[in-house]
């Protein structure tokens, strides 16, 4: 049986759990159980029951609220002993990274993290990136079951979840956890009061350069940023002219950023700017000049007029 560990917070299911279920269904659709832990697990169970799985198991225990790696490890250790799965699958979220390796180490079992695909073959292998994505490895976990696997966020598409003909049954599991042995004492989470712009934490950035021509045109970049859920940034001349504040400057004399997506509008790619963003995961360049150095490091490029392309992008994103 394949056990998927769901992640939820205050009764709100983490979307990545669905991705893990897709992965489980690819591995062996016939024997999947989904385990939900923490307070309000029962309310989430109903949602999960729509998936084509064998059962939903809820696990509520005072030691599980709030989340601590000590608490989760102890509870799951007990649960796994009861359920005896062949595989334990989780989405590779911050929380999973915090406890899953500990749980695997506690049980002295293999854990393969950040997997992007499952390869069926003589032995089932798990595909994952290595060397900053320059190489891909097929990894086979060694040793006895259960094998732990965590899936990279976005590796599986949520809309590919197979739904069940009927709702899967839900049952509760009880475990023994010594709450006094939990060493972490978490305080309530909070959102950072953002006094200043912190581009280094942004996941997506839309950046403007001289190609934007006038201050008034920055508006279209702002709209694109909004449509993408991105932060706005700029190369030095834009900030020098005062069209955007200095905190938004990216480059060797500004901020160094490495977002998932860096979209450079009308930026030529002078080296002083490049060194500030070359670590970005995916770089898109839109520039009139086909010889602009930015195209050398871009993953995707469009040679053209940004004033026509950007509005078209905003349209496409709405769909």
């Amino acid at each position: 049986m394949i056990l998927v560990i769901a992640e939820q917070k205050d009764g709100k299911l983490n979307r990545a759990t669905w991705e893990a279920i897709v992965g489980a269904q690819q591995l062996d659709a016939s024997a999947i159980a989904v385990l939900v832990l923490g307070a309000k697990a029962a309310s989430v169970a109903g949602e999960l029951a729509a998936a084509s799985v064998q059962e939903i198991v809820t696990l509520e225990h005072p030691a599980l609220e709030p989340y601590t790696p000590d608490g989760f490890t102890a509870a799951l250790q007990d649960a796994i002993a009861q359920l005896s799965p062949s595989h334990v699958l989780l989405p590779h979220t911050y929380q999973t990274r915090d406890f899953a390796p500990k749980l695997a180490a506690r049980l002295d079992r293999a854990i393969v993290t950040d997997v992007t695909a499952i390869k069926r073959g003589r032995e089932t292998a798990f595909m994952r990136p290595m060397f900053q994505g320059k190489l891909t490895a097929d990894v086979v976990p060694q040793g006895p079951a259960p094998h732990f696997v965590t899936f990279q966020i976005g590796a599986f598409r949520v809309d590919q979840v197979a739904k069940g003909a009927a709702s899967a049954p839900v049952r509760a599991l009880t475990v023994n956890v010594d709450a006094s042995a939990i060493r972490q004492k978490p305080e309530p989470p909070f959102q950072q009061a953002k006094a200043a712009v912190d581009l280094s934490q942004a996941e997506r950035i839309v950046s403007v350069g001289r190609g934007i021509k006038e201050q008034a045109n920055i508006k279209i970049a702002e709209e694109l940023a909004k449509a993408l859920g991105a932060e706005l940034a700029a190369s030095r001349p834009i900030c020098d002219s005062g069209w955007l504040p200095m905190e938004r400057q990216v480059g060797s004399s500004g901020q160094t950023v490495a977002p998932k997506l860096y979209l450079a509008l009308g930026i030529s790619g002078a080296i002083q700017h490049l060194v500030g963003m070359k670590g970005s995961h995916t770089i898109v360049a839109i520039n009139k000049d086909p010889d602009a150095p930015i195209f050398e490091i871009a993953d995707y490029g469009i040679v053209g007029d940004l004033f026509e392309i950007v509005p078209a992008m905003i349209e496409a994103l709405k769909q």
Binding site: R236, S252, S253, A270, Q272, V275
Partner: protein, 610 residues
């Protein structure tokens, strides 16, 4: 009786003079010895030109310089006269009646007049015109000295006019002698000490601009940390300063309104030495932030007429700070980049390999290739500058020059050296020298003036000598034989920005211009050019600085305005870093000026000719 009085006065004033000189000599003697007499021929030649013929004094400020030269030559001419009068006054020998002495005294009249005119001009200039280089307030001592000199000349002329032996004549004579004695006593503690030391300082000045000996790690040398670490040449320099301000007004940092002022550095050194606090940290004396504003352009040292070397003090102090972990943060990042990736931007080596492959470059083979082309950091990683290198390659191919590149290049270490990270510099330098030696390289061509200076002059201190020329020199030679007809109707109006490390350090100013004019370009010179350009602001690690909290403007913005003021719409550059800085300034100014690298310009013209 008069003789006795004179002796007493003489001993008193000379005693004061000697005591003050002794203090300064003791400070020089106590400092670690950095006197160097190598290349005596060069030094002697320069001494003749700058001391005897006052070349440096006159070139930067022609009128004031000439006025000073007149005073100086007059001073030399009067030496014999003064000696004879003193021998007479001390009752030792009386040559005052000799026939030749009479003729000599008459011959001195034009000199005395020249000195008088010169000193009066300088006095008025200092007191009323108040040029920036001379400081904010008029120093009383300067006025006194100027009046002394004027008095000496007037009293001298009067000795010829007045009737000898009369009371007036005697009074006049005594006044003359007393002024000389008073002057003597004032010399050591004033800027007029240069009368005594500057000929020595000029001779001891290194023939190499920005001379920075390697640190010896075996001896645990870490650079200059406290006042007592300053070398004897630097101590001598501190006492030689004439406060003329040539270093100040030519300094690009000062010109951009920053706190750095090379003249202040020297005078602060002097004050600190005389105050005697040998353990005081140099970072405290100069105030650390000022030390990081220097681009190492060398204008200060180059302009100084009395042989002061500012860079060993500035960069030496940087070394002390860097060795202790007190480098500014942006330099820390640069050092980590050099350590991990051997280039200042920390970029991956694959980028260089990609360029080498796409440009079809061959690995240097001494059997096949005439020259090695050294790409440098910018050449290896800056896509913009690589366009210029492609132009160079095209020219070399067209002229049948067989060339190759090194399989592995590291930064020459220039930015590490100029910012004071001597360890990183030596690591890079030694590794590069190993590679250059095993590749059996005899001649190097490069488009980066910093590489020219570092490989050509600095690597020599490790005993490695190789011929290295800037691409402008090499290409100019190549084209000598070819005829250079300007394509019809192509009179471009350009301005050429001399890179500091090319125009000032290497003295290469003619070849780039020859390449431009050969193709009919009209060159509009900016106000600072040739061997005294105004820095672009990249040197000394400042490429990465750009701290908005600093006062003043960006050095690059100031220079860009100067280039714009020529009216030319095209700026020609011959250094990758000048190009980065000036293009940045252009973008900030929102200007439409075209930038073209010299090699790209030449290649374009050659192709047009066909």
């Amino acid at each position: 009786m008069a003789t006795l009085i004179f002796w007493l006065l003489f001993l008193a004033f000379v005693g004061v003079f000697a005591a003050q000189v002794a203090t300064r000599l003791r400070l020089i003697a106590a400092a670690p010895n950095t006197f160097d007499l190598s290349d005596a021929g060069d030094r002697a030649r320069r001494w003749l030109a700058d001391v005897l013929f006052q070349r440096k004094t006159i070139v930067e400020r022609p009128v004031a310089g000439l006025a000073h030269a007149l005073v100086f030559w007059g001073f030399l001419a009067f030496a014999l006269y003064t000696s004879v009068e003193f021998l007479y006054a001390l009752g030792l020998v009386d040559l005052t009646g000799a026939g030749w002495f009479h003729a000599y005294r008459l011959a001195l009249v034009p000199f005395a007049s020249a000195v008088l005119i010169g000193i009066l001009y300088l006095l008025i200039r200092r007191a009323f015109a108040r040029p920036a280089g001379l400081g904010d307030h008029v120093s009383a001592e300067s006025i006194v000295i100027a009046l002394f000199i004027a008095t000496l000349m007037i009293t001298y002329l009067l000795t010829l006019r007045l009737e000898e032996g009369t009371a007036v004549w005697t009074l006049n004579w005594w006044l003359h002698m007393l002024v000389i004695l008073a002057f003597l006593a004032l010399i050591p503690a004033s800027k007029h000490f240069h009368l005594v030391v500057s000929p020595v300082t000029v001779f001891l000045k290194s023939p190499e601009l920005g001379n920075l000996p390697n640190l010896d790690f075996e001896k645990e040398q870490v650079g200059l940390e406290t006042l007592k670490d300053l070398g004897s040449k630097s101590v001598l320099d501190a006492f030689t300063c004439v406060e003329c301000g040539r270093c100040q007004v030519n300094c690009p940092a000062w010109g951009a309104g920053k706190a750095l002022n090379p003249k202040t550095i020297i005078l602060q050194t002097q004050d600190a030495l005389l105050a005697g606090e040998r353990d005081q940290k140099l970072g405290a004396i100069y105030s650390e932030n000022v030390l990081w504003q220097c681009t190492t352009c060398g204008a200060c040292e180059n302009q100084c007429p009395v042989g002061i070397e500012h860079l060993p003090i500035l960069i030496g102090s940087r070394r002390g700070l860097v060795s202790n972990g007190d480098a500014p943060e942006y330099l820390g990042a640069m050092y980590n980049n050099l350590e991990r990736r051997s280039n200042i931007w920390g970029l991956g080596y694959d980028q260089r390999t990609k360029f080498v492959t796409s440009a079809g470059l061959e690995t240097f083979d001494p059997a096949k290739h005439d020259v090695l082309v050294w790409l440098g950091c910018a050449g290896s990683f800056d896509a913009d500058f690589q366009k210029s290198l492609r132009s160079l390659f095209s020219i070399l191919h067209a002229k049948g020059v067989a060339f190759g590149v090194l399989a592995k290049e590291r930064c020459t270490g220039d930015p590490a050296k100029r910012t004071g990270n001597e360890y990183m510099y030596q690591e890079l330098a030694n590794a590069n020298i190993e590679d250059l030696k095993s590749a059996r390289v005899k001649k190097i061509v490069t488009s980066c003036p910093h590489c020219v200076k570092t490989i050509g002059a600095d690597y020599a201190k490790f005993g490695y000598r190789v011929e290295i020329v800037h691409s402008s020199v090499f290409v100019n030679d190549l084209l000598q034989d070819a005829g250079g007809a300007a394509p019809a109707g192509s009179a471009d109006t350009v301005t050429y920005h001399d890179p500091c490390y090319l125009g000032r350090y290497a003295g290469t100013t003619d070849e780039p211009r020859a390449l431009l004019t050969r193709f009919g370009a009209e060159i509009r010179e900016p106000e600072r050019n040739r061997d005294n350009p105004y820095c672009c602001g990249a040197g000394g690690g400042l490429l990465f600085a750009d701290k908005e909290e600093e006062p003043g403007s960006r050095i690059s913005d100031v220079r860009f305005k100067q280039l714009q003021a020529t009216g030319a719409t095209t700026v020609v550059t011959a250094c990758p870093f000048c190009s980065i800085m000036l293009k940045g300034a252009q973008a900030s100014a929102g200007a439409e000026t075209q930038f073209v690298d010299l090699m790209t310009y030449v290649d374009g013209k050659l192709r047009a000719i066909g």
